[in-house]
Each structure stands twice: as C-alpha cells, then as structure tokens.
C-alpha cells in the first residue's frame, strides 16, 4: 500500500518534514495505524506518512518492495522514520538498510511500540522536528506504563 502523502512536502515555514513509514504484517493494521496517527496529529500541516502492510499479494507478511516504495514516497530530504510491528518486519527493514541503496539516505529504523510510536512520530514530524527528535519521541512511547 503506497499511500500518497496527504499534505504538501514542506511545513508552514517551508522546512522539509521527516517522513514516516509504518510497516506491519497486515495491510489493514498498517493503514489503520496511519489513519489513527494522522487523525490524532490533527489540523495544520501533516508530515508525509505511508503504510507498507502485508506481503504485497493480499496476505500477511512483509514486502521489501512496499517498504522501499513507501520510504521513497515520504522522503522529503529530511529523513525517514520507519516503524515496524513484528520480527520479520524488523529483519526486513534492517536487511534493506544494510543493502545501502534500497532506502532513501537518512532512513532510520525506529525502536518504538508500533501504535503509540506511530502517533508520537507523526505528531512530532508534523511539528517540523528533525529525524533525531522524531525518533526520540517515538522511542519514548516505550516508557509510558499502562498499569
């Protein structure tokens, strides 16, 4: 699933925004989390977000092609934060990063919980933060205890 970014490339002051890619084993999960995160990021400028869910053939799994396409689609030159769900999605992104030329330069696999991290990443990126700040915000979602 290669969602077109929902808003233009740049923030209000013309700064380039960090893109966010959401990789899930399920196309529906990836698309829904993208919808949730952009919905909660609310009004104003939205960072480009793309979902890369499922195996690309309607099944559960991870597609390196969908991931590469999604990363290219959200790249505005300010870096791309990639969030993943389960093990093989993590391994696929790491393998693509190791390939060197499969993902835009400045693409980073972010260590974060998928849903909470996605919301934090999209909100932070939409505010015009840089990649390190987007990564830190997403990772910080791990520290929020529910009980």
């Amino acid at each position: 699933m290669k969602d077109a970014p929902k808003t233009p490339a740049a923030g209000d002051d013309g700064t380039k925004l960090v893109g966010v890619v959401l990789v899930s084993h399920s196309a529906a999960v990836a698309a829904s989390v993208a919808e949730l995160a952009t919905g909660l990021a609310g009004g104003g400028t939205l960072a480009p977000v793309a979902a890369a869910g499922g195996d690309g053939h309607g099944g559960l799994g991870t597609s390196s092609e969908l991931i590469s396409d999604a990363a290219a689609a959200v790249d505005r030159g300010a870096g791309v934060a990639v969030l993943t769900d389960l093990g093989s999605a993590v391994l696929t992104v790491k393998a693509l990063l190791a390939e060197g030329d499969e993902l835009p330069s400045g693409t980073r696999l972010v260590d974060a919980p998928f849903v909470e991290g996605a919301v934090a990443a999209v909100v932070t990126a939409s505010a015009g933060a840089d990649l390190a700040a987007v990564e830190a915000a997403a990772a910080e979602a791990y520290t929020y205890r529910k009980v």
Partner: protein
C-alpha cells in the same frame, strides 16, 4: 577452485531440495511457527533460480549477492532477510574474484553466518538456523561432507531446546520437542552445497 558456475549450481540444487522438502519444512513450522517456512523458501528459491537464469552473474560473489537480494525481496517472512543476508554477506566477502578456493569460501561463509547472527540477535542454543550454520562453517575447513553432517546434527540437536528467538519463543516450554524449521532448512542449504561439490 570454485567458480561462478559452482555457485549457480549450488543455488539451483538448493532450489530443487527446497521443492522436495517444502512440505516437511512447513510441517515442522506448524507446531512452533506460522506454518509457512516451506512455502516461503519455495517462493524465494524459485525466484533465485529465475533471477540467476536471467542475469547470469559472472563471479561467485555476484551469484550470491543476486541470490541474497532476491530472497530479501520475495520471501515475505523472516527467512527472507535472514537467508538473504547470509548469501549476500558471503557474496560480498568473496569480492570480485572469478574463482575462490575452499578456504576463502569457508571464511566468507563465516562472515555471512556472523551477519545473520547479528541481524537476528541469535546465538548458538537459541533454536534457530544458527544452530546448523555455525557447526557447518566450523566443519567446512575439513570438507563439504563434514559440513553437511555437522549441519544435519546441529538441526537435529535443536529438538530438545527451548526457542528464544522469533515466533516460537512466544511458546516458551511448548517449543521443546520440535526440531527447528530454520535449522532444518539451513541443513538443506549445506547439503545442497556438499552435493554440488560431489561429496
């Protein structure tokens, strides 16, 4: 000396073995995994055979890099990036040489196995493909046949282990008593290597 043709034949032999063993791999993957290991590898190695036919890479390194890249892009499960990384890193370690000797290949394969271990964070005893690949690479210094035996023994020895990586790790003690599918497919890869070498 081992040339590009040797490595093409190794990949083709692996594809053939994976076709034969796909059902067994999937059966091993059904109690402790998501029952797709055989079909995933089948799809991946079919694509490898096709890609090698079409592109005809000319060096051992190029054969393995193309095979690895193809696995990463076609498999869709964890075995894609893991086997893809194994072959690609091995291929990169071989460089541009038109032929490599067995010792150079053994060293390159160790680089590949180390990369897989790092990618998945798995060590020997975690009930993964590493349990077949590490003993195989250790034995490769002696002969291809020794590597095959070591990989098979390593795969069998995963049965009593408790999984600490991947989906099987969620099962805790219930993963005990099942042979690891990834170690089994790794033994198939190494057996195809020995077969290609005529051992």
């Amino acid at each position: 000396m081992l040339d590009a043709d040797f490595f093409r034949r190794w990949m083709t032999a692996t594809a053939v073995s994976v076709e034969h063993e796909a059902e067994r791999l999937t059966a091993l993957d059904s109690p402790i995994g998501d029952a797709d290991h055989g079909s995933n590898l089948q799809r991946g190695f079919r694509a490898v055979a096709t890609a090698l036919d079409k592109e005809e890479p000319g060096t051992p390194g190029a054969v393995l890099i193309l095979a690895g890249r193809t696995l990463i892009s076609t498999v869709g499960g964890a075995s894609g990036p893991l086997y893809g990384t194994l072959l690609r890193r091995t291929g990169k370690a071989l460089g541009d040489a038109a032929e490599v000797d067995e010792r150079e290949f053994a060293e390159a394969l160790r680089t590949g196995v180390d990369a897989v271990s790092q990618l998945g964070g798995a060590a020997p005893g975690d009930k993964t493909m590493i349990d077949a690949l590490v003993p195989a690479v250790d034995a490769l210094g002696r002969s291809f046949a020794a590597a095959r035996s070591a990989a098979e023994e390593g795969a069998l020895a995963t049965t009593p282990l408790q999984a600490r990586k991947g989906r099987a790790s969620y099962l805790g003690e219930r993963s005990v008593g099942h042979q690891d599918p990834g170690a089994t497919s790794s033994a198939i890869l190494i057996a195809a290597l020995a077969e290609t070498a005529g051992e």
